[in-house]
Amino acid sequence: MKKEELLTTASLALLELEEGEVERLGEEVARMLDYFEMMTKLDVDGLEPTTHAFQKTNRLRADVLNNNNNNNNTNNSFNRPLIMENGNDVEDDFFVIPNVL
């Protein structure tokens, strides 16, 4: 595997790799790719891809609102204070993060 490919893959996953890691992971990922390579050699002509492990289909829900509404008639689908508590930084009912623009 080319080093460049590994770095591209890492940046797509938002991973920062140090020089030593690049070496080590390069080898490990290459071994995985070899394994996939082996699988691609199998003859799968005429087989439908198995996209899902379970063969169950059509799990749908009716178009109705949650009724876990515990915020006094405001149609809130979940308890806002509880949800906001999980934010690292919160202001005026918004979650706050560093400016990403």
Binding site: D63, S77, M84, F95
Partner: protein, 479 residues
């Protein structure tokens, strides 16, 4: 402004990605309310906030709407559709992927016909797929504020082939498309409120040379801006090529304040979304009952409706254009006709006096006090000679203001026409008696003065005297 500015040395290719917000009660994969304008982070839950361990479940109604649109756009419908994860990092999407469709969308390979000038154009549809919207961010100073009410809102994306040839044509297509989704009742089509969005890709090339270097255009918030953005961009690309330059594949933003497109600086790395099937959601295989419901939801589409109005009721193209714009109005029009009214007179009233009243009161026809029944009754009263055209206009206003039947208003206000010859003769005698000099002048040949007498008679009766009778009896008396 037309496309005249565009260098006609080149051929233009435009393709669209249209996103529509589906008119469901709840979100795509959870039971949160799908609604605009609520307080930030009120319509949120662990599913649409992307908490680990949650189980998203497809909204049945959204799935049905997806198939309904795909069917209306003549797509090949998927017998086994499934969702995939589109992976990217951006804080408006806390899961770090968007649930979308890729390999097996609900529909592929469709087309839509629309009218452009005198021509019927056919635009091919690449695919129709379901996905979820992202949250909203407000950038302020050194921070970004996140509101996830919109995250998980059901979206349907319609991707066209690059078959459109100009900004003008694209605008016409978008208006026809908007009308179509409104007819189907799946989206309100309001581009200014963001419930319908449109990104375009555009390339130009010498005729016969096929597609050129593709530029993506974003940030056009109305069909008009789509046209202007594309016109500007075609012109810009032509200038680059004319000067011997090379176009680069990039994304540009329409700046509506400056009327230009601007390059959006992005990282050079091409997007690689690494789609893979969403493991939390099994595929959906529509059964016969589902497909029957999709068929059931089909309506006569706008273009067909327009042509029917022209054929069946002898409306002109412009008249039919006006009547068919909203499905509710076209239905209303046909209902009034079914109640016995005559097409031209219904059209005339709808496009003038009724429209004026609706604009004044900021109402839509179908929700106004003027029901099809009341409107037909008003026209009937007029046709039967019970009220004059002038009185009818007053009664129309009264229907809007008092929310009552025209016949009731006519009765209550004593507006019915005086069509008893004896009664009219009495009034005429009175008026002639009061205007002896004018009568003399008319008898001596000054016919113009006759109009004055008619005016006095109408005034005397509050406009209620049957005009034809007045003319007839007055002439007899003056001869």
């Amino acid at each position: 402004m037309g496309d005249v500015l565009v260098n006609d040395k080149y051929e233009t290719f435009v393709g669209l990605e249209i996103h529509i917000h589906l008119l469901t009660e709840s979100k795509m994969f959870c039971g949160c309310k799908a609604n605009y304008g609520d307080e930030p982070n009120t319509n949120v839950c662990p599913v649409c906030l992307g908490y680990p361990g949650v189980l998203p479940t497809v909204n049945e109604r959204a799935m049905e709407m997806g198939y309904v649109v795909a069917r209306a756009l003549n797509c090949r419908l998927s017998r086994k559709t499934y969702f995939e994860r589109k992976n990217y990092f951006y804080p408006d999407m806390p899961k770090n992927y968007q649930i979308s469709q890729f390999q097996e969308p609900v529909g592929v390979e469709g087309y839509m016909d629309f009218e452009f000038g005198d021509e019927i154009k056919r635009i091919r549809i690449h695919d129709v797929h379901l996905e979820e919207d992202a949250g909203k961010m407000i950038h302020a100073g050194d921070m970004s504020l996140q509101d996830f009410n919109r995250a998980g809102y059901p979206l349907l994306e319609i991707v066209t082939e690059p078959d459109l040839k100009s900004g003008e044509e694209t605008e016409a297509f978008l208006r026809a498309f908007r009308r179509t989704v409104r007819y189907l009742g799946v989206c309100d089509g309001n581009m200014d409120e963001g419930s319908m969005k449109c990104d375009a890709n555009i390339s130009i090339n010498l005729p016969g040379a096929g597609l050129g270097t593709k530029v993506e255009l974003k940030n056009m918030n109305s069909p008009r801006f789509v046209r202007r953005g594309l016109q500007y961009e075609a012109q810009r690309q032509a200038s680059v090529l004319d000067e011997g330059g090379k176009l680069i594949q990039e994304t540009r933003l329409w700046n509506e304040n400056r009327d230009i497109t601007e390059s959006m600086r992005t990282k050079e790395m091409a997007n690689d979304y690494r789609y893979f099937p969403e493991p939390d959601m099994p595929p959906f295989c529509p059964d016969d009952a589902f497909m029957a419901a999709v068929e059931e939801a089909q309506v006569e589409l706008p273009l067909t409706r327009k042509h029917k109005l022209m054929r069946k009721y002898s409306l002109s193209s412009e008249q039919a254009e006006f009547i068919h714009d909203e499905k509710g109005n076209a239905d209303y029009f046909e209902r009034v006709l079914a109640l016995g009214a005559e097409a031209q007179s219904v059209y005339t009233w709808l496009s003038s006096d009724v429209q004026k009243e609706l604009n004044l009161l900021n109402m839509t026809l179908t929700r106004s006090p003027l029901s099809a029944e009341r409107f037909a009754e008003l026209l009937r009263l007029m046709e039967e000679g019970q009220i004059s055209g002038k009185i009818a206009k007053q009664v129309l206003i009264d229907v809007f203001e008092e929310n009552e039947d025209p016949s009731r208003i006519v009765e209550k206000k004593g507006l019915s026409q005086i069509s008893d010859p004896a009664a009219i003769a009495r009034i005429i005698d009175k008026v002639l008696g009061e205007n002896e000099q004018v009568v003399q002048a008319v008898r001596e040949g000054e016919q113009k003065q006759k109009g004055f007498l008619v005016g006095q008679i109408m005034k005397e009766t509050g406009g209620r005297a049957a005009p034809a009778l007045v003319q007839k009896i007055l002439s007899e008396k003056l001869s």
